[in-house]
């Protein structure tokens, strides 16, 4: 039982990172139906930005987190403007290949400029270990889960209770109808990219703190897993992405805990395929019936 709770804590910490990333995927996909392959690389940039400001300006954790979110939001909006906006009306597969191109560009650009080696993320928050009923919890794990949950609540408030959030939901449902009532979809899409990228930036700083190491290719695998999380939760649904992220994180930790760590990635994909076959729209997704 102790091991169970221990793994649950580990899974929740990892899962909140996936959830933050999955939220970005799900919002972008919900609005322009694009799998933003570069999303995982924005998370990498977020981690590198945190590394840079902490080492260079000796700022504390909060400043690093917020500045990373701002930088990533700006970067996300810039990428959307330069690479995806010209392709708004092209086949979706073209936009997808462009997203892959952007991802390659960020990964290799960072390797080229700063080297491909792994770096140690500065430990700006001293790690403490608490033992509660025999379960070890570090303050960093608590920090990750708390910050993630706060960001998710903030996101939910933005999407449900602000004018921009209402506009986002409107564009996701029907872009043309939204335009007719005076919403500028370009602003909304740009804002969505900014919001998603800010969450990715936060996730980047948090993972740097948790795993203590960053490198230019760190975004690839978590990016794909976070997308899987978004699909499992029901793509386009914000609570679904959060739930999917936690599920994938917990699943991965438990598969690892029972000694099958070599198969942990396979387990994630098996769950993906099973969920897609049983619930094609994901857990919280709307199943749209096709009309002839």
């Amino acid at each position: 039982m102790q091991t169970f709770f221990q793994q649950l804590i580990n899974g929740l910490s990892l899962g909140s990172i996936y959830a933050l990333l999955a939220l970005g995927y799900t919002m972008v996909y919900g609005i322009i139906k694009l799998i933003n392959f570069a999303h995982g690389d924005i998370y990498m940039i977020g981690a590198f930005w945190g590394y840079y400001v902490i080492n260079q300006y000796h700022v504390d954790f909060g400043v690093a987190l917020v500045s990373s979110m701002v930088i990533c939001a700006a970067l996300g909006m810039l990428i959307e403007y330069l690479a995806y906006k010209p392709l708004r009306n092209s086949p979706r597969i073209t936009a997808l290949i462009t997203a892959i191109g952007v991802s390659y560009f960020l990964e290799n650009g960072m390797s080229f400029l700063f080297g491909a080696n792994t770096r140690n993320f500065p430990q700006v928050v001293a790690s403490h270990r608490f033992t509660v009923f025999g379960v070890a919890v570090t303050n960093i794990q608590l920090l990750i889960v708390t910050v993630s949950l706060l960001l998710m609540v903030a996101l939910q408030l933005i999407v449900q209770h602000t004018r921009m959030g209402t506009a986002m939901r409107a564009v996701a449902v029907d872009q043309e109808a939204a335009e007719l009532v005076g919403i500028n979809p370009n602003h909304v899409i740009s804002f969505t990219f900014g919001l998603g990228s800010a969450l990715a930036g936060a996730a980047g700083v948090l993972i740097g703190l948790y795993y203590n190491s960053i490198d230019p290719l760190m975004g690839m695998v978590p990016g794909i897993k976070a997308f899987v999380a978004a699909v499992v939760g029901g793509i386009g649904s914000i609570p679904g992405a959060a739930l999917g992220g936690f599920l994938i994180g917990i699943l991965e930790t438990f598969v690892q805990a029972i000694g099958l760590s070599a198969y942990k990635d396979a387990a994630v994909y098996v769950v993906l395929i099973v969920i897609l076959v049983v619930l094609p729209a994901g857990i919280f997704g709307k199943n749209v019936k096709e009309k002839v």
């Binding site: 086949p91 290949i97 191109g101 396979a266 994630v268 094609p280």
Partner: protein, 324 residues
């Protein structure tokens, strides 16, 4: 009818002429082993990408797991040629790889082909990753270290002939009754079903056919490169095959040939740039997609038959109408 045969003969002549041209250039020394290597890589990529183009371009199914099927072919060859290291063993292993890939494609395809668009892409990607993880952990495949010392049983003529054969198969398949059924499903599956086409069956047929050609390419890759490891067949490899298809133009086999060649040459030329290579490659990819969203050739197809038919119409003969 006559135009069809004339076109077939011209294609055969082009294939034979191309073979002799490469052969002569090697004898003269214009093509050194470096360029020969590039040509073989381009050839293998053409086999992979034409197969994927059948799935994506003709049947409209978005598959992101092509490298997984390639891995099955490569590992079948690597394992069988350990015991039977001659040409017979190679072709036998290729056949075994193709059969395994087809069986796996049916197993993956039946549940996942019900999904659409991006969901299918993500499911096939997952399936291909599962194949890779299994290869990474089996004893017979030597785990993550992969297999090496695979006997060199293929040279450029083998690849050349197989490129011609697989392309011929795929083009003929795409133009057959089956191919028209598949394209009808791509355009509108409900309308296709209404005229008696079973969408699941034909989508599966295209998927299995694509998987089979990927296995052929995998076998060639194994005996030409002589070392394989599970990491050679990851998501990034599936994506690079997809890039060839989209860059050339989805649904255009000619485009696939052009894109595979352009990317192969680009890759070789940029080799001297080191890390900058991938940065330039990525930028080129983004720019081509932003300025030419339908790919280099769109849906354009070089057709010698059409050339003959146009001439036929101009001379007032009727055979162009018969040949269709």
């Amino acid at each position: 009818m006559a135009a069809r045969w004339k076109a077939a003969l011209v294609w055969l002549a082009i294939a034979v002429a191309g073979f002799y041209l490469i052969n002569e250039l090697i004898v003269v020394g214009v093509i050194n082993s470096f360029i020969e290597n590039m040509l073989v890589t381009i050839g293998i990529n053409i086999i992979l990408a034409t197969g994927l183009n059948l799935i994506i371009g003709f049947s409209g199914q978005f598959s992101l797991g092509h490298a997984g099927f390639m891995a099955l072919g490569a590992y079948a060859t690597a394992i069988i040629t350990q015991y039977l290291g001659n040409a017979l063993g190679f072709y036998l292993s290729m056949a075994v790889g193709v059969v395994i890939a087809m069986v796996v494609a049916v197993i993956i395809g039946i549940p996942t082909l019900r999904l659409r668009g991006d969901y299918l892409a993500i499911a096939t990607m997952g399936a291909s990753e599962i194949i890779r993880v299994v290869l990474n952990n089996l004893k017979i495949t030597n785990g993550a270290a992969g297999m090496y010392n695979i006997p060199a049983l293929a040279n450029w003529p083998t690849v050349y002939v197989l490129v011609c054969l697989t392309t011929l198969m795929i083009v003929n398949f795409a133009r057959s009754r089956a191919g028209r059924a598949i394209q009808a499903i791509r355009e509108d599956d409900i309308a296709a079903e209404a005229v008696g086409i079973n969408p699941t069956k034909w989508k599966l047929a295209a998927f299995v056919m694509g998987a089979a050609t990927a296995a052929v390419a995998g076998s060639l890759h194994a005996v030409y490169i002589q070392t394989i490891a599970p990491s050679d067949f990851g998501i990034m490899n599936s994506i690079s095959i997809l890039i060839i298809v989209v860059l050339g133009g989805v649904g255009s086999i000619t485009g696939t040939f052009v894109a595979a060649t352009v990317l192969g040459v680009l890759d070789t030329v940029l080799q001297s740039f080191g890390t900058l290579r991938m940065v330039i490659y990525a930028l080129a990819l983004i720019l081509i997609m932003v300025f030419k969203p339908s790919g280099l050739l769109g849906r354009y197809e070089v057709s010698i038959r059409k050339l003959f038919e146009k001439k036929g119409v101009r001379h007032g003969t009727a055979d162009s109408h018969e040949s269709e």
